[in-house]
C-alpha cells in the first residue's frame, strides 16, 4: 500500500468507528483527539481494526504513533508496503 492508500484505509476505519464524525475537514497534522470525539475505547479500536483488516500488529509502546493521520501514515508505511489494499 502507498501512503495515499494507507490514509484512505485509516479514514475508512475512522468512519466505521465514529460514524457521527464529519471527517471531510480532517487536518492530517493535528491529533485525532483534538478534532474529533475519540476516547480510549475508540483509539484501541483503530489498532484492532488495523490488525483485523491488514494483519498489522501494533505493540502498545507504539500507540503514540497513531496520534494524527500524518504520524499514523508515516508509522504504517514501512509496515504495510507489501500489503495489498483490502477489499
Amino acid at each position: 500500500m502507498t501512503g495515499v492508500e494507507i490514509r484512505q484505509a485509516v479514514l475508512e476505519i475512522l468512519e466505521r468507528i465514529a460514524p457521527d464524525e464529519d471527517l471531510s475537514n480532517l487536518d492530517d497534522a493535528i491529533a485525532f483527539r483534538d478534532q474529533m470525539e475519540l476516547d480510549s475505547m475508540d483509539f484501541l479500536d483503530i489498532v484492532m481494526e488495523l490488525r483485523k483488516g491488514y494483519r498489522v500488529q501494533i505493540p502498545e509502546e507504539d500507540y503514540h504513533n497513531l496520534n494524527s493521520m500524518q504520524s499514523t501514515v508515516e508509522y504504517l508505511t514501512p509496515k504495510l508496503k507489501d500489503v495489498p489494499v483490502a477489499g
Binding site: 468507528i17 460514524p19 457521527d20 476516547d39 475505547m41 484501541l44 484492532m48 490488525r51 483485523k52
Partner: protein
C-alpha cells in the same frame, strides 16, 4: 467444536460481548438456557399481545448523533446505528412523595429548576453534589473500595426528604443493596437517569435484542438456545470447558459468564464453591394492565412516576409479600412516538419478598398474584387516574418469574450486593459480565459485556 470464548447467557451483556468478539474474528458461542434471548430484559407474547420484561425505559438517553455519552460509546463499539435502537425520548417523569413532587425530563436544567423551587435552601448543596458527581470517575474498573452514597450526599444536602427523593428512582432502577448504594453506582445511576434520561424503542426491547442477535450472527457468532450450562469445567485452576444440561461438553479458551457471581461460582463447583459471593435479594412484583385506551386519554401523561407514600423511603426486602408503600408506575405509551402504541399499558412495580413468592404452591400462586395485583394498583391510585374500568388484560410477574427466566437466586433483579467491577473470578480464564460486574441498566449491561470482552478476550 472448540471456541475462543463461550458466553453464558444471551442477555444484553452476553450479546454485546459476543458482537465485539465476533466482529474481531474470535470464534464465539453464546449459550442460553431459555428458548429466547434477553435474560433480565426480554419479551414475550401472551394472549396475542406483546409484553416486555424488565424494561420500563432505556436510561442514558441521547439525541441521535450526539457524541461522548454512554449510548454513543456503545453504538460505536458495537458498530451499530442510532436507528437500530430507535429510541424515542420520554415525555416527563416525576418523583412523588407526601407533600412534595419533583418532575424531570431528559433536560437536566429542568430538574435543577424543580429542585431549586421545592428546596430553595438546599439548591447550593445540590449544585455542589452535581459537581462532585461530574468529577467522579465511576467507570474505573480497578476501584475496589466502596463508599456510602448516603454519606457523600449528606455532606452536601441536609434535608432528609430531598435525599430520599434523589435516592428513590436511582435505587429502584439499579440498587442491589438495601438503604444505601455504593457512590460509584449512585453516580452511574444519577447520570443515566437525571442527566441523560429515558427513552424507549417504539417496538420495545425486542427491537434492540433482535438487532443484536442479527448482527452477532451476521458476524459469524454462534447462538445456542435451550442450552443451559450445568457446569464450568476447570483444569489446573483454569476454566477450559462447559457442560450443558444434556451432558454435551464444549471446550473453550475462555468462559465469560453473565449468570451472576454466586450463580457462576456454583457452576464451577456445586459442592464446594471456592468463594461464596452473596446472592442479592432485592426483587419486585410487577402488575401489567392492558388498557382499551391510551393513559393520556384518562389524563395521565407521565412516562414514569416513582412514588413513596411513607414518611421516609424504605428500599429493602419487605416483611410482607409486597411493599405497598412505594413503587414505580410506568406507561410505555408516554414516550414521544410518531404514532400510538397498539394498546394502553400501565405497569406498576413494587418491592417484593422473594421467599414468599418462590415457595408458594402452584395453585395458590396464581390466586395470590391476582390479589396482590389489585392491591398494588389500588395503592398506586394516589398518583394516577383510576384506570381499572379500562383494563382488558392483566399479567403479573413476581420474583418466581424472574428466577425462572434469569436463574438468579432469590429472583433478584439487580444481582449481588457486592459487584466485581474488573470482571475477574478466582478461576483463571473465567470472567463475569452483566449485572454482577456492576454497570447498570440496559446501556450499562451492554457496556459491561463490551468492557470485559475488550479487557480480557480480544488479546
Amino acid at each position: 467444536m472448540h471456541y475462543d470464548t463461550v458466553i453464558i447467557g444471551a442477555g444484553m451483556s452476553g450479546l454485546s460481548a459476543g458482537v465485539r468478539l465476533a466482529y474481531f474474528e474470535k470464534n464465539v458461542c453464546i449459550l442460553e438456557r431459555h428458548t429466547t434471548v434477553g435474560g433480565l430484559n426480554s419479551f414475550y407474547r401472551l394472549r396475542k399481545r406483546n409484553y416486555d420484561v424488565g424494561l420500563h425505559a432505556v436510561t442514558n438517553y441521547a439525541e441521535p448523533g450526539s457524541k461522548g455519552g454512554p449510548l454513543s460509546k456503545l453504538l460505536r463499539q458495537l458498530r451499530m446505528k442510532w436507528e437500530d435502537f430507535d429510541l424515542r425520548p420520554q415525555l416527563h417523569s416525576s418523583i412523588a412523595f407526601p407533600d412534595c413532587t419533583l418532575r424531570f425530563t431528559n433536560d437536566f436544567a429542568y430538574f435543577l429548576e424543580q429542585v431549586a423551587m421545592a428546596f430553595p435552601r438546599q439548591i447550593d448543596g445540590f449544585k455542589r453534589l452535581v459537581r462532585t458527581i461530574a468529577d467522579h470517575d465511576a467507570l474505573n474498573l480497578d476501584q475496589r473500595q466502596t463508599t456510602s452514597a448516603r454519606h457523600v450526599v449528606s455532606e452536601h444536602i441536609s434535608d432528609p426528604l430531598l435525599i430520599d427523593m434523589l435516592f428513590c428512582p436511582l435505587m429502584f432502577y439499579g440498587s442491589a443493596t438495601p438503604h444505601d448504594m455504593d457512590f460509584s453506582q449512585f453516580v452511574i445511576m444519577f447520570k443515566s437517569i437525571f442527566h441523560e434520561g429515558f427513552g424507549r424503542p417504539f417496538d420495545g426491547i425486542r427491537l434492540i435484542l433482535k438487532k443484536l442477535v442479527r448482527h452477532f450472527k451476521a458476524l459469524g457468532g454462534h447462538l445456542k438456545l435451550r442450552a443451559g450450562v450445568s457446569e464450568i469445567v476447570q483444569r489446573n485452576g483454569k476454566a477450559n470447558a462447559v457442560v450443558l444440561d444434556d451432558g454435551t461438553e464444549i471446550t473453550a479458551d475462555n468462559v465469560l459468564s453473565s449468570a451472576g457471581a454466586a450463580e457462576t461460582m456454583r457452576l464451577v463447583d456445586p459442592s464446594r464453591p471456592m468463594i461464596k459471593p452473596k446472592a442479592g435479594d432485592i426483587t419486585f412484583v410487577e402488575s401489567i394492565s392492558v388498557l382499551d385506551c391510551e393513559p393520556a386519554s384518562l389524563g395521565h401523561n407521565e412516562t414514569i412516576v416513582f412514588y413513596n407514600d411513607a414518611d421516609s423511603f424504605h428500599y429493602e426486602r419487605p416483611n410482607e409479600p409486597v411493599d405497598l408503600r412505594s413503587g414505580i408506575i410506568c406507561s410505555p405509551n408516554n414516550f414521544d412516538y410518531s404514532r400510538p402504541l397498539e394498546d394502553g399499558r400501565m405497569r406498576i412495580t413494587a418491592l417484593a419478598e422473594p421467599d414468599y413468592w418462590i415457595n408458594l404452591p402452584e395453585d395458590e400462586y396464581q390466586q395470590r398474584k391476582m390479589e396482590w395485583n389489585d392491591r398494588i394498583i389500588e395503592s398506586a391510585l394516589k398518583h394516577v387516574p383510576d384506570f381499572r374500568s379500562h383494563v382488558v388484560d392483566t399479567d403479573v410477574f413476581s420474583p418466581r418469574t424472574i428466577r425462572r427466566f434469569t436463574g438468579h437466586l432469590n429472583g433478584c433483579v439487580y444481582g449481588a450486593p457486592e459487584k466485581f467491577a474488573d470482571g475477574q473470578t478466582p478461576v483463571r480464564n473465567l470472567y463475569l459480565c452483566g449485572t454482577d460486574q456492576g454497570f447498570l441498566g440496559i446501556v450499562g449491561a451492554m457496556l459491561s459485556g463490551i468492557t470485559i470482552a475488550n479487557r480480557y478476550l480480544l488479546k
